[in-house]
């Protein structure tokens, strides 16, 4: 936001990332096939921006987030964070690097230990990364709770005493505890009611300004994505179909899938009548994805070339890349 082209610094660079999960079966539990959750994707994130990944279930958006944190070991490709190759790091070094890479999960009920007080939960994060000396931790925790709009007394309480929105604030405080550079928000506001969701979105935006944070924001909700992002990346069945600035993706979507996705969202706007592109059928299985363009089985504009040749992600306009034979 407000960063000119020359000043933009790449914080994270993902190259030809592949994440296959083996399917075991047969007599001896051999690997009989793979789920190609993420299949050869390349993108980067600039310092201080919010890049969103959108797509429907099974498109690989969460897997991408997990691969960057190495919560799953990627099958191929490389991930560079500030020039450092994350995939070549040993366990110990990776743990150190995770100080800079934090994550906020969707379900604030499942991601906090019910038997620890909030003070213990946040204290643990500080202790593991050892960013604050022991004697200062209590005041640091109070400060963190202040940042996310919770009272210092919350420290003594347990997760079940908080509402969903408050728990998500605790999750954010935990991510902030170690002064990270990049925070991966995996469906961080999806479980919240709209009025609470708005509060948490505003909080994330103000924290980003205050601490110069970079967000990788994973979501299926395009309204939320439009609100928070600088750039948007659309995924379908393990592939990137389009990456562009927020403005151009919402105003001039080029890939037929992006267009269908945008038109499928019910919008409460009486002024704007839209034409709906209704896709037929379901998303194919990622075990045996279609040849050529993976979207060709549902695409209303399908051509012969789409069935055989995989379209490359190509620049189609300023800050706009699309993988589609029609556009190129």
């Amino acid at each position: 936001m407000g960063v000119s082209v020359e000043e933009k610094k790449v914080l994270l660079k993902v190259d030809q990332l592949k994440q296959y999960f083996p399917i075991k079966g047969g007599f001896f539990g051999r690997t009989i096939n793979h789920v190609k959750a993420v299949d050869d994707i390349t993108f980067h994130i600039y310092q201080g921006e919010t890049l969103s990944i959108v797509g429907e279930s099974g498109c690989g958006k969460s897997t991408t987030g997990r691969a960057i944190l190495r919560l799953d070991e990627p099958t191929g490709g490389s991930i560079h964070f500030q020039e450092k190759d994350l995939l070549s790091l040993g366990k110990k070094e990776m743990r150190k690097t995770r100080k800079d890479l934090q994550v906020i999960f969707q379900d604030p009920f499942a991601s906090l230990n019910p038997r620890q007080t909030i003070g213990q939960i946040l204290g643990e994060a500080l202790a593991i990364q050892n960013v604050v000396p022991k004697e200062n931790r209590k005041s640091r925790i109070e400060e963190l709770l202040g940042h996310v709009g919770l009272r210092p007394e919350s420290m003594e309480r347990y997760p079940h005493e908080f509402s969903g929105g408050q728990r998500q604030r605790i999750g954010i405080a935990r991510a902030l505890a170690v002064d990270p550079k990049l925070i991966i928000c995996d469906e961080a506001v999806s479980a919240l009611d709209v009025s609470i969701q708005a509060q948490v979105l505003n909080l994330l935006k103000s924290l980003q300004r205050k601490f110069d944070l970079t967000f990788l924001f994973i979501s299926h909700d395009l309204g939320v994505v439009r609100h928070i992002s600088d750039r948007v990346m659309v995924m379908y069945l393990g592939k990137i179909v389009e990456i562009a600035d927020k403005k151009s993706i919402f105003e001039q979507p080029q890939h037929p899938y992006t267009r269908a996705l945008l038109s499928a969202i019910p919008v409460p706007n009486p002024v704007q009548e839209r034409e709906r592109i209704l896709l037929t059928g379901d998303v194919p299985s990622p075990i045996d994805p279609p040849n050529g363009c993976r979207f060709h089985t549902r695409c209303p504009f399908v051509m012969d070339i789409c069935k055989t040749q995989v379209p490359e992600l190509k620049r189609s306009a300023q800050n706009h890349q699309v993988a589609c034979h029609i556009v190129s």
Binding site: D193, F250, P268, L278
Partner: protein
């Protein structure tokens, strides 16, 4: 504007309470609405507003104890469902009034095929042989747009995708041509492109069968695109009851306005979202007056002292807010909000 004037369902002052160790929770606290033949009524609200308990109450599916319908009446074609015996209710459920739930995986039986489950529902209410019921089940699957229905009918739920399972649920719910269909968050668990397909399907089937639909949702966009009228619920009460289009162009209740403002917009940029301060009050500790008063920017003393009634503010709009009553102007004491 379509005209709907034949009442099929009339709910009057419905109250469903839960009696627990922590106290009494008035989950549905005196709500009234009507449903006309062929129309779609949306019930919107956030978690804990009582919208799902309302739908379960209509079919008398509240688990008792701890829950109990403690008052009011539910008139279905003029007869009160609350006075029916359990046996009479069973012949109404799934036959005259059907329901679809949010999570099709948990409401389908995992060990029976899709076709068997639909056929079972048909045979419960109609005198049909096994073979005939099966054929009808296959017809229903075709109707809801499942490709190769003969094959799919033999498959078990785990072999179907989420969108297809929801189609099976719809097929089952509509198999007996019910007059009322209650859809409780039918598309919440689905992806947007599949959601668009399912909403379109419900709309077409409604037109073909003339079914009246109650659509329970938290998504205002869904309301706008599918409903004729809408009731907004907050803390067990209806706060606004009006035409679906009206609620977006001319919302009245401060809660409705707050809800609309906190939606991130797809059609314009906003630097910051307007939020509703605070959270929903605990059901065991409701405020004495209007339950929205502690979060409302306009609240006066009267709001904290007495509960406002649902009153007409126009030909098809009802609002429960003191702002729209004569008493409002007389109350000059604007409360200072502390900590909001």
């Amino acid at each position: 504007m379509k005209q709907f004037d034949e009442k099929i369902l009339e709910v009057k002052n419905l109250q469903t309470y839960f009696f627990t160790d922590e106290g009494t929770s008035k989950a549905v606290n005196g709500i009234s609405f009507t449903l006309n033949k062929g129309e779609t009524l949306g019930i919107v609200g956030e978690s804990g507003s009582g919208k799902s308990i309302t739908s379960l109450s209509l079919l008398r599916l509240i688990q008792s104890p701890p829950g109990k319908i403690t008052g009011g009446s539910i008139l279905f074609k003029g007869e009160d469902l609350l006075t029916k015996t359990e046996k009479q209710m069973r012949s109404i459920r799934g036959n005259e009034i059907s329901m679809i739930f949010q999570e099709p995986m948990t409401s389908l039986n995992p060990v029976y095929s899709a076709g068997e489950q639909i056929a079972e529902a048909i045979r419960l209410h109609q005198k049909l042989g096994k073979k005939e019921a099966w054929n009808k089940a296959v017809d229903m699957l075709r109707l809801v747009g499942i490709p190769s229905p003969e094959k799919r009918a033999k498959q078990e739920p785990h072999e179907l995708s989420g969108g297809m399972r929801q189609r099976v649920m719809i097929a089952m719910a509509l198999a007996c041509h019910p007059e009322v269909l209650i859809a409780d968050e039918p598309t919440t668990a689905l992806d947007v492109t599949i959601q668009a397909q399912i909403l379109e399907l419900i709309k077409t089937l409604q037109k073909d069968f003339g079914t009246a639909v109650i659509l329970i949702t938290h998504d205002l966009g869904v309301v706008y695109e599918t409903c004729d009228r809408v009731a907004v619920m907050y803390a067990g009460k209806i706060v606004e009851y009006t035409l679906a289009k009206e609620i977006f162009t001319n919302p009245k209740h401060p809660y409705t306005i707050g809800l609309l403002n906190s939606l991130p917009r797809l059609d314009m940029d906003q630097e910051e979202l307007t939020t509703i301060p605070g959270t929903v009050p605990s059901p065991y500790n409701m405020p004495k007056g209007c339950s929205f008063a502690p979060r409302c920017a306009h609240a006066k003393r009267i709001c904290e002292q007495a509960v406002p009634d649902l009153q007409s503010t126009g030909p098809s709009t009802q609002v429960s807010c003191w702002m729209f009553t004569p008493q409002w102007e007389q109350d000059h004491d604007v409360q200072e909000k502390v900590g909001v």
